[in-house]
């Protein structure tokens, strides 16, 4: 509750609700006489100092009548809501109380009833219960009931399936007792929130009913009644219609917003603190500028407000290269891949001293066609990476249609051809299917096929096998390898799995906290790794010789938080070799004999660590 009041909207809504409730209690006591005072000399007058909202056909003061009508309007709304909640609870818990069969009939009836708008239900019930205050009350209460019944039913079904409820039932606890002790307390919160919103709606609905002349009858009056009477004289003095109208809107809105504020307050999340750590520029350690390089990345950084998850990454790739980037989640490897493909979206900012692909400077210009045809992406989750509302063939063929201006038929023919190339059986039929008709492995192959629609020089594969099971993983990796061999396509493979990278790639980049900490040939991974983090990653992989009696090796500590990095080496807090220098000075990435490493203790033999 305190949290609700602390938001400006919640506080305003709560304040208005309080004022409305206070008026409902006090206004009839204070102003009933003023509201009923007939003044035949002042009939149908406009606003004046004596009558702020004018007078009605008997010369009664409309402003006071609106204030006094607060009680009846609010009272009826709350009663109708209470009735709706009570009937809704009864219907919604029926399956639990009466058993499955009777429950199913009631649930089906509720299901049909909620399909009709509340006002139509209210009119239907108004016919049965008759015109008037009581009839309107029953009508709106029953009209609200199906909505609450469905809410209750959904919530109860969720709770009733829980273990402790089942346990209570097995223990022989009666149905009513299960309902009151175990189920209702758990669904109370959303019910209260919805009831508050519903009170607002009931208020509006009652105003509508009275406005139509089907609700409150004279000499009683509520806001809807006053509005209906005022509308007839809207040419003479519009205040008579506007004053009750404003009252209805303000009160209805207050209840609605109050309910929503409670709902938000219940599920309020702590806002993430934003750090102000600035991206530190470091002296660059660039590989030799290589003219045959297809992709050159120099001092690449990716920044978001408050953090810099990629800090000064440099590497280059030639045609047909297979480079892997490994690291824990949060190391910046995926962002590096997205930055290379120019897919980082605002508010992310990509900076680089050099970012060139096939000779084009990617920092300048769109390069839509070049990237669309020569750079292919394969993403982690094939289940979500295809558009669920478009056929696979069309999703493939639109690449060729847009970038090469092919007509529909030719583009589709190529799509079928590429689906065949990634070894999907019956590609013609597959092209006409939707993504949900494909298995995960088939989708990932189709995704690779989509990359082959152009003439790719580079395939960036971001965790392409993580979401797949092991046998399918191997098929996908083999497919990538065969494409690479056949067409001299380079592959940039992002993975947290160092053994996958070791199998597929010929060079491995190890990233930690947004930096490359080691760069070495894949063949030397097991023997030549020099960074303690690389060694720790390797040690964490169990193999046939791992002693299964011992717990699996893990890297102690947590991955570095890019928003809050230590002043020295980012790995120092988790590193067994760390000393005073590591804590204060960040080691540079130093090249030595075809490999690069960033560690003050790069020369300590592996045995000391493991």
């Amino acid at each position: 509750m305190g949290r609700v009041l602390r938001t400006p909207l919640g506080a305003a809504a709560a304040g208005t609700v309080a004022v409305v409730l206070l008026l409902a209690v006090l206004a009839p006591v204070l102003w009933t006489d003023a509201a009923n005072a007939v003044d035949t000399g002042q009939i149908q007058q406009g606003a004046s100092a004596d009558h702020w909202a004018g007078t009605d056909s008997l010369g009664r003061d409309i402003f006071f009548r609106v204030l006094v009508a607060t009680r009846l309007s609010v009272q009826l709304a709350l009663l109708a809501t209470a009735l709706g909640v009570a009937v809704g609870l009864l219907l919604g818990t029926a399956p639990l109380l009466l058993g499955a069969r009777a429950g199913r009939v009631i649930t089906a009836a509720v299901h049909i009833a909620v399909a009709f708008p509340g006002l139509l239900l209210a009119l239907f019930f108004a016919v049965i219960f008759g015109v008037g205050t009581t009839g309107g009350l029953l009508a709106i209460g029953f009209a609200l009931a199906p909505g609450f019944a469905r809410l209750t039913h959904t919530m109860v079904a969720g709770v009733a399936g829980l273990d402790y409820v089942a346990a209570a039932r097995i223990a022989g606890v009666g149905r009513l007792r299960v309902l009151f002790r175990h189920v209702l307390p758990n669904v109370a919160e959303p019910l209260v929130v919805n009831a508050t919103v519903a009170a607002g709606n009931a208020l509006l609905a009652f105003a509508g009913l009275s406005f139509l002349g089907l609700g409150v009858q004279p000499p009683d009056y509520d806001w809807g009644r006053l509005l209906g009477e005022g509308l007839g004289a809207i040419y003479l003095h519009p205040e008579a219609a506007l004053a009750p109208g404003v009252a209805v809107v303000v009160a209805g809105l207050a209840f609605n917003l109050f309910g929503e504020a409670i709902a938000k307050g219940v599920g309020l999340e702590r806002r993430l603190g934003t750090s102000t750590s600035r991206f530190r520029r470091r002296p660059r350690v660039a590989p030799d500028p290589d003219d045959s390089a297809m992709l050159v990345v120099e001092n690449l950084s990716v920044g978001f407000p408050g953090t810099t998850p990629v800090r000064g990454v440099s590497f280059s790739m030639r045609r047909g290269d297979a480079v892997g980037i490994v690291g824990e989640s949060g190391s910046g490897k995926s962002l590096t891949a997205l930055a290379v493909s120019r897919l980082v979206e605002e508010p992310g900012i990509v900076e680089a001293e050099r970012l060139s692909f096939l000779g084009a400077d990617l920092r300048a210009g769109e390069h839509r066609r070049l990237l669309g045809t020569s750079l292919a992406m394969v993403f982690q989750d094939p289940m979500t990476s295809f558009n669920p509302t478009m056929r696979i063939g069309r999703q493939l063929s639109e690449v060729a249609r847009h970038h090469e201006g092919m007509d529909r038929r030719a583009a589709m023919a190529r799509a079928v051809d590429r689906l065949a190339a990634v070894r999907l059986s019956d590609p013609e039929r597959r092209a006409r299917q939707y993504p949900h008709e494909f298995s995960g492995g088939m989708r990932q192959r189709a995704m690779i096929g989509m990359g082959l629609m152009g003439k790719p020089a580079l395939i960036v594969a971001d965790e392409p096998t993580t979401a797949l099971d092991v046998t399918v993983q191997r098929q996908v990796l083999e497919l990538l390898a065969s494409i690479r061999a056949a067409d001299d396509v380079a592959i940039l493979l992002i993975s947290h799995d160092i053994t996958v990278v070791e199998q597929v790639c010929d060079r491995v980049l190890v990233m930690y906290a947004g930096r490359i900490v080691e760069d070495l040939p894949a063949a030397e991974l097991r023997t030549g790794a020099r960074h303690p983090y690389t060694k720790a990653l390797l040690a964490a992989v169990p193999d046939m010789t791992t002693d299964r009696e011992l717990p699996l090796t893990v890297i102690p500590g947590r991955p570095a938080d890019p928003a809050n990095l230590p002043p020295g080496c980012a790995f120092a807090p988790r590193c067994p070799l760390a000393d005073a220098r590591c804590a204060t000075e960040d080691p540079e990435l130093v090249e030595n004999a075809g490999a690069r490493v960033a560690c003050w203790h790069a020369d300590v033999p592996a045995e000391v660590i493991s």
Binding site: L227, L343, F386, H436
Partner: protein, 324 residues
């Protein structure tokens, strides 16, 4: 997917159509029974209520006989069903006119109002929601987002009959641009249609924006961008259909609510449609007419729901399968 048993029924579309049609039939049956039962659920004698306490007993008896209320209940139910199939909905207790004629006379005005208002709401809200999603995605332009959200919340919360009153005050009373009431010429349509359309448009625009924001974060949008498609292709072909699936579900509910809203708006504007008919008939206790209008509204809502489900199935091929 599923094992092929018999070709036509096993086809997802065939199964979907069968199941959906079956549901419609059950709902219509419930509706018809409710409309029939309504008159019998009214406490006391509805005919005596309608004719008033001063009417002679002979007149009441004669009217009961004319309405068939002296028959056993099951006989009345069967007669009622038979009447429905032959287009006979009974006669008005007040005017003696066939209910079917009254409905046929009044229905077009209401349908016009609802269809125009819904079309206006959709035409305004979908581009608006999409544009605001693109403009405010990723936390951009916070003030714009705040303005959009608060405006739509307030507009959506004001009931249409109050909006109608405010519109009458501004545009008819003060500015004198359009007539205050009635259905006479194109200018008389403006206020009722706008009054009906504003709230659904506000809700729909908000939903379209939220849904579009969710869709824009989806992996397949990243895929579409990775294909370097032009922005308009990404937004209109990849994002919009996915954002619309949720918007259509809600749009259907809104159209249903809009049908109900016509009742109030018609009464504000003295619009000669079903809405003013049902209110005057309830007040006059002319139950056969009320029954007929309830049936028409109910069938209208059910048909809208059916259209929504079919549209959803067309837009999102998963929904046909998901239901099973």
């Amino acid at each position: 997917m599923t094992a092929a048993v018999s070709a036509p029924v096993d086809h997802p579309w065939g199964r979907f159509a069968l199941r959906r049609f079956g549901r419609l039939l059950v709902s219509v049956w419930v509706l018809v029974t409710a409309a029939f039962g309504m008159i019998h659920l009214i406490p006391g004698d509805p005919v005596r209520g309608a004719l008033g306490p001063t009417a002679s007993q002979e007149l009441v008896e004669a009217r009961r006989a004319a309405l068939g209320l002296d028959q056993p209940l099951w006989q009345q139910y069967l007669d009622y069903l038979r009447g429905l199939f032959t287009g006979d909905l009974g006669v008005s207790m007040n005017s003696g006119m066939p209910v079917a004629d009254i409905l046929g006379d009044r229905l077009p005005a209401t349908v016009e109002l609802a269809v125009l208002a819904f079309a206006l709401a959709v035409l305004v809200s979908v581009p608006l929601g999409l544009a605001f999603a693109v403009l405010t995605r990723g936390g951009r332009r916070r003030p714009l987002e705040l303005g959009f959200t608060s405006t739509s919340v307030v507009l959506a919360a004001i009931p249409e009959f109050l909006l109608a009153v405010a519109l009458v005050w501004i545009f008819s009373v003060n500015l004198g641009w359009v007539p205050v009431a009635g259905r006479d010429g194109p200018s008389s349509y403006v206020l009722p249609v706008v009054a009906l359309a504003l709230a659904p448009a506000a809700i729909l625009a908000r939903i379209v924006r939220v849904e579009t924001l969710t869709v824009l974060r989806a992996d397949y949008i990243r895929t579409a961008r990775a294909k370097r498609l032009p922005s308009r292709t990404v937004y209109f072909r990849h994002a919009l259909p996915n954002a619309l699936t949720a918007a259509i579900t809600l749009g259907g509910l809104l159209l249903g609510a809009l049908v109900a809203g016509t009742v109030l708006v018609e009464n504000v504007f003295a619009w000669p449609g079903l809405g003013s008919t049902i209110v005057s008939s309830i007040l006059a206790k002319d139950y056969p007419v009320v029954q007929g209008v309830v049936l028409v509204y109910g069938v209208g809502v059910l048909v809208v729901n059916l259209v929504v489900d079919v549209a959803l199935a067309l837009l999102d091929p998963r929904s046909t399968i998901r239901e099973g």
